[in-house]
Symmetry: C2
Subunit: 343 residues, 2 copies
């Protein structure tokens, strides 16, 4: 992990940024990015909805009237294009990117990553693409729900593959850092497997639990307290948003769901046969405790030199993150947090 | 539901109360009851732990040194004995009650009710028993975790069966109201089925989810946000407490768990075959919305006259609750909240 002669890290180092940002889609995430980016960088936006464009313009942001104008401007400014639309719209959008700005800097904020990489490689092979996923959100959606501080303190995945140019990665990661996020480097497939477990499966569990509660009728609903309220909260998310993210991550979600079914099935068998829930309570309690204590052993390290992609992926796999980026004499210098070595 | 000529309800009516309260077990619930009851009624307590007795006495409460002294005092004062010990200790405690105070007023605060009714009928058949379950709690436990306002606004189930004397029920319900709870009348078996769905199953789901998350390693843990945090929160409860309540409600929990497994299994099949999660997202979202909106249609009614047990059980089954109790000229008068008639 540690380069032999790491450069000193200067806390006031400023991360590389793209010259401008062009946001396609102005819902909760895109709208929040627009608000958070505007004080720091030139930013333009477009939404297919006329009323959303009107609201954003009324709030003082630079909104253009067509996708063509947005992409042409991005091409001219060498801007970073951010796809912040529903992932179902990506094929249409990527075809327009290929026509108008085929070698543009490109990222997206979708909650699945491997499938988007495949689409981009197929439809816009020359784009300088770095997939990303800001893990921030609320149950609300739409321009009005956005806020400039949505990303403060949130994890923001930025993807790396063998083909990634660290300089292009650094502009996307630099934007995420500038908006207040912790940057988590990850391989696209590893990202998808992780979010299936810790985001998509929790949604399915919440939906199932809400229905089992409802089958209990009015008495059960009246008795429900915080364990039920917390366990079903994300079932309040709009069904089409849940479907888009869960169905888009089908293979990884099936694996996670099978693990969840196995855990519950073993507990069911044990409860019915011996009456004991020892295994699931001990294991689940230990797992929850480890989750609550996560990240407590992270210490700062400085990354530089060659094989930055591998170094960054090692940080992400270990549960670490990137907190700073700068361009030094010998190239990129990266401030990361990594589990303390036991030795 | 509505008696033909309901008496007027006076908002300042005071509920019937027992002459004194004797609390056996001074953990989170028993200790909170002691703190909340002491300003209003004579209350004595006992704990098998010398250090707990010392802490409670140091805090100014009347604690006795042995179970015998506590039960003898309760017998003399015609006090309401509250079993606030772990349900595994109930057989031993009930045998001592049968020896020392066989016809005492008796309630308990366990999270299962049918099994406790069976134990009481077998071991202390002459006790004036009314099972109860205050649905309040935190992840903490022990005397130090207790607080006088733990029950404020919380649902508090008070059980009714064909054998229940409404006057004895009213003293238990009156105490719950005096401590700030909403009183929910319920048949013991209906209570157990309801809490299996809305409390015990959420614990199993949280435990399973925590373990699926942990299997994803450090990257998954680092990416986990509010959906995972909320969905696993109650897995942080002490394993022995989860086991006591879940294993104690085995039959009802198996039924609820099978429903949960069926919901998830159908979703898994649909995701793997057609790729669609339409059914679980629509149904779960509707169920969550109904839960959030529960109780919005309740209007006040006054109950009095004959067949009070049936009237009260109808209130509980419909999702209603009792907010006031008084003794009028013609017997008990009860203020309840009941869903507005559609007609």
């Amino acid at each position: 992990m540690h380069p032999r002669n790491p450069p000193e890290w200067a806390d006031d180092a400023a991360p590389p940024l793209p010259p401008a940002v062009c946001i396609i889609g102005l819902g909760l995430i895109g709208g929040s990015m627009m608000r958070a980016t505007a004080p720091r960088l030139p930013v333009i936006g477009w939404s297919p909805s006329e009323s959303t464009r009107g609201s954003a313009a009324d709030d003082g942001f630079e909104v253009v009237g067509t996708l063509e104008v947005a992409l042409s401007a991005a091409q001219e400014l060498d801007a970073l294009v951010v796809l912040a639309a529903p992932v179902t719209a990506f094929p249409i959008l990527l075809r327009r990117v290929a026509e108008i700005a085929p070698a543009v800097r490109l990222t997206d904020v979708a909650s699945v990553k491997h499938a988007v990489y495949e689409q981009v490689f197929e439809l816009v092979p020359n784009a300088r693409y770095v997939g990303s996923h800001p893990m921030a959100g609320t149950a609300e959606s739409g321009w009005a729900a956005g806020s400039a501080d949505l990303f403060a303190g949130a994890p923001w995945v930025t993807c790396l593959t063998d083909e990634t140019d660290p300089e292009e990665w650094a502009r996307v990661a630099g934007l995420a850092l500038t908006l207040g996020s912790r940057v988590i480097p990850a391989d696209p497939t590893a990202h998808d497997a992780a979010v299936a477990r810790i985001s998509h499966l929790p949604h399915l569990f919440a939906l199932a639990l809400a229905q089992v509660g409802a089958l209990g009728g009015a008495l059960a609903q009246a008795l429900a307290a915080s364990s039920f309220a917390d366990g079903t909260r994300v079932a309040g998310t709009r069904p089409e948003l849940i479907r888009a993210m869960c169905e888009g991550n089908r293979d990884a979600l099936i694996d996670a769901l099978d693990e969840g079914l196995a855990q519950l099935g073993v507990a069911r068998g044990s409860l019915a046969s011996t009456g004991s829930l020892n295994k699931i309570t001990e294991g689940g309690h230990r797992a929850r405790k480890a989750f609550v204590d996560r990240g407590a052993d992270l210490v700062p390290v400085t990354l530089a030199g060659n094989e930055l992609v591998d170094q960054l992926l090692a940080v992400g796999s270990a549960g670490g993150h990137v907190s700073g980026l700068a361009r030094g004499d010998g190239g990129l210098v990266i401030r990361a947090w990594y589990p303390e070595d036991d030795d």
